[in-house]
């Protein structure tokens, strides 16, 4: 039966080629526009670490007090997005989580061993050994430094494969030496491709970038007085001058993540954190009651508005556009089906049931949807190509079409067009055979 209806649908569509083309074009353009923006939206709304996004938590501690105005517009919680060095050390020393790592973005000039090659800049993340197992970073050679390296402020480094290719021409470089600002660091591990998007653990800069090229122990970076290359916020109180002054100040510039595998761990950590802040109040550092918060990866991305307003607006606009296209297709389908009321009358008079007519017209709508979906796919590819040339390099990274996007496009097209076809189809099924035959 399906094959017969499918044949009928094709024949009927062929009979009024202009109307059919208009319908397919409308559906195709709508699907193309909405899928283009949806692809970018899905990339921004991506869960960067799906295996663990509910087990990784970042910490916020109010170390400025209620007198300091919030720096985030519209933020009623009045919490800083990063923590101070004092608090980072307090939390690292307490070791209250399964795993934990304080971290910040910094950088240095790397001088290659070959004197003919000019020094170049590298983006560095200073962190602790737990960073690597906690965030499931893939190693192609070696591994993370160990806890003793953290304790000893050791001159060790984990480098990315890309940097390894650039400096050592690839290969296993574990044990080799790398020169950062005239200090030698020993390579302990080489990381494979790893660029969680968005870069959830530090959303201050390069949210969709490639991340650091090199990782060194946090303790070593502090020793080397390597300042933060990310966001430093001293709205509370800049403290005393000098590096030691900065470390003891209430400036916030460090991100802190903890791994809490079970609900009990989460509850316990919440209690611990509140106790920690209460202790700070007792010791006279905070003059206000404990105000802390932990958020997992998903909650953090929402809180930090990882999906930009621009993309939300574009998704809204393009889906409204799709709606207009579907209303349009619906009107044309209505015109087309009612123009064929005579045929339908004949079929009904020859014994076709209402259900049969309904099924036949719905398949016709589905065929239009399928054709519109395929056209939409082509237009989406074109649209993404356009976005890549129009938008910055960082956003361009988000314009890659996955297999999931292709199936979404086709399903959306067929489903939406069939839905739009329901009313015209229902009208077709209502055709009275006697009336139509008489009118002829």
């Amino acid at each position: 039966m399906f094959n017969y209806y499918f044949g009928l649908a094709l024949r009927s569509l062929k009979r009024n080629i202009v109307l059919t083309a208009l319908m397919i074009a409308a559906v195709g353009v709508g699907i193309g526009a909405s899928m283009t923006t949806l692809t970018v939206f899905r990339a921004m709304d991506n869960d960067p670490i799906p295996q663990k996004s509910r087990q990784l938590f970042t910490v916020q501690i109010d170390n400025w007090g209620p007198d300091t105005k919030s720096i985030v517009p519209g933020d009623t919680e009045r919490l800083q997005e990063q923590i101070s060095y004092t608090d980072a050390m307090g939390l690292m020393n307490a070791k209250a989580a399964h795993r934990q790592a304080a971290m910040y973005k910094t950088g240095a000039a790397l001088t290659p061993a070959n004197p003919d090659v000019l020094p170049f800049q590298v983006q560095i993340r200073a962190t602790y050994t737990d960073f690597f197992p906690m965030f499931l970073t893939p190693f192609v050679a070696g591994g993370p430094w160990n806890a003793d390296d953290d304790k000893n402020h050791a001159d060790v480094a984990v480098i990315t494969q890309k940097l390894n290719d650039k400096v050592f021409g690839g290969g296993n470089s574990v044990g080799k030496s790398i020169n950062l600002d005239n200090h030698e660091f020993r390579v302990v591990g080489v990381l494979g491709t790893w660029a969680p998007t968005p870069q959830f653990y530090d959303l201050n800069n390069d949210q969709y970038g490639e991340g650091a090229e090199l990782y060194i122990p946090f303790t070593r970076a502090i020793d080397g007085q390597m300042g933060s290359w990310g966001n430093n916020n001293c709205s509370g109180d800049p403290g005393q001058p000098g590096w030691e002054g900065r470390l003891h100040s209430e400036c916030v510039w460090i991100q802190f993540w903890a791994e809490l595998p079970t609900a009990a761990d989460v509850a316990a950590y919440r209690a611990f954190l509140n106790n920690y802040a209460a202790d700070q109040q007792r010791s006279g550092r905070f003059h206000w009651p404990a105000h802390t918060r932990i958020r997992d990866v998903r909650e953090w991305l929402v809180y930090q508005k990882a999906v930009t307003a621009e993309v939300r607006i574009l998704v809204l606009v393009s889906f409204s556009f799709l709606l207009v296209c579907l209303l349009n297709a619906m009107g044309l389908m209505l015109a087309k089906i009612m123009g064929r009321a005579g045929d339908i009358g004949v079929r009904r008079a020859l014994g076709a049931s209402r259900r049969a007519i309904f099924g036949q017209c719905l398949i016709e709508a589905g065929v239009v949807g399928l054709a519109g979906g395929l056209l939409g796919l082509a237009l989406t590819a074109l649209g993404l190509l356009g976005l890549r040339s129009l938008l910055s390099e960082e956003v361009s990274r988000l314009t890659h079409f996955s297999a999931a996007d292709i199936s979404i496009a086709i399903i959306l097209a067929v489903l939406a067009t069939t839905l739009a076809g329901l009313y015209p189809t229902w009208r077709a099924a209502q055709v009275q055979p006697a009336w139509q035959l008489k009118a002829q």
Partner: protein
């Protein structure tokens, strides 16, 4: 023109008319909001920085290690840059406009103020800064050479000896009064700083719509510091008119001659910074513009399609009307009036929809309120579109011969 027959005919074609009206309403709502966003983003990306962008070249310089003689090396670099052919002046700073990166400080009028009177962007500079940037001094004077001190790292909290502020900041701090000769207190050093000069304009480094800095776009100040820090810092060069390209070639070469123990980032004119920083805003304008054009086209074709069908359906009735004496013009007018009624209803719903869509965007994305002018423009565009789209089917209807009425169907 009589509305009664049109309305009664429409009643028999309710769904088609409603479909067109709803399409037009949504089209109108999207169209005026999109046009509004387009206009805003264009205005945003055309804001002047106050800097002579065409002739100003920037490059970032980072020393390998943290050389103890950094201040002297920097002095040497700048002297070498100033001596290059085609260079008018040069200085070193932490940031320039159009980079989206910099520092903000709270500015107070009293030493023990709880919350600052204004927020402003911080630029480091010396007596060469104003000439190099090409900003206009409108009151007071430039820094004197003896006012310049060294700032060793961002954690050095020494009080500047003087400060030059923008007119925007001056108006905010001392409305209606002369700012030169007054003093301010900055959040960092907590010290008293005399204002020696006011410049016309120097935009803050952050440019994103509704983002950091958008609420204090014109508030900037220059402090007389030579910046000596273990971070990449910016060398700003003012080239003679037409010499920017040559300077971009010569500057890094000259600096590498002095020392190779450094990293020089991109060397480029400020105009390149502008293109890059506003790329996404310009992109948004093109995308929204494209969607608007597509939207209008789809709606127009929908009207053409549905009206053609109505014409085909009513061939006999049209023939009868013609046979009874209706002129061609009367037939055309019939379809045009019909479309006007539908479009009018659509426009009315559309204006309401456009305003609520905007109100939602205001609350969700902290956008600005829609200017009523845009809804009116949108309504006129949508109604004209309807009239244009209906013209072809209406002409076809008018060409139906009266003799058709006499023939059997």
């Amino acid at each position: 023109m009589q509305f009664r027959p049109i309305l009664s005919a429409m009643r028999r074609n309710k769904v088609g008319a409603i479909l067109i009206a709803v399409q037009m309403a949504i089209t109108l709502a999207i169209l005026c909001n999109a046009l509004f966003i387009i206009q805003q983003r264009i205005a945003l990306s055309e804001r002047p920085t106050g800097v002579d962008e065409a002739n100003v070249v920037v490059l970032d310089n980072q020393w390998v290690g943290n050389p103890p003689d950094q201040a002297a090396r920097q002095e040497g670099d700048l002297a070498a840059l100033r001596s290059l052919p085609g260079v008018q002046d040069a200085f070193a700073t932490n940031t320039v406009p159009l980079t989206d990166s910099g520092s903000t400080e709270g500015i107070s009028l009293h030493p023990d103020q709880k919350s600052a009177s204004a927020r402003a962007a911080l630029y480091f500079g010396d007596e060469h800064a104003i000439a190099t940037l090409g900003v206009k001094l409108i009151a007071g004077r430039n820094f004197n050479a003896d006012e310049i001190t060294e700032k060793v790292g961002y954690t050095d909290l020494k009080t500047p000896s003087a400060i030059i502020i923008t007119k925007g900041l001056a108006d905010k701090l001392f409305p209606g009064a002369n700012a030169v000769g007054q003093s301010i207190y900055d959040d960092f050093s907590k010290g008293q700083v005399p204002i020696v000069g006011v410049i016309d304009r120097l935009q803050v480094p952050w440019v994103s719509a509704g983002g950091w800095g958008s609420s204090f776009n014109d508030n900037s100040f220059i402090v007389p510091f030579h910046i000596v820090i273990p971070y990449p810092i910016l060398y700003v060069i003012h080239a003679q008119p037409g010499q920017a390209a040559a300077v971009i070639q010569a500057a890094p070469k000259k600096l590498f001659e002095l020392s190779r123990a450094r990293v020089i980032g991109k060397t480029r004119p400020m105009t390149a910074l502008r293109t890059e920083i506003y790329k996404n805003d310009k992109g948004l304008v093109v995308i929204l513009g494209t969607v608007c054009v597509a939207l209008l086209a789809v709606t127009a074709f929908g009207i053409v399609g549905l009206t053609s069908y109505w014409v085909a359906q009513r061939r006999r009735q049209i023939g009868i009307r013609r046979a009874l004496g209706a002129t061609r013009n009367a037939i055309i007018q019939y379809f045009q009036t019909e479309n006007l009624l539908i479009a009018g209803a659509g426009a009315a719903i559309g204006v309401a929809l456009a305003v609520s869509l905007n109100l939602w965007m205001v609350s969700a994305f902290s956008m600005e309120r829609l200017n009523t002018g845009y809804t009116l423009i949108g309504a006129v565009v949508v109604m004209l579109l309807g009239q244009a789209a209906v013209l072809w089917p209406a002409l076809k209807a008018a060409s139906i011969p009266p003799a058709l009425a006499t023939r059997a169907a």
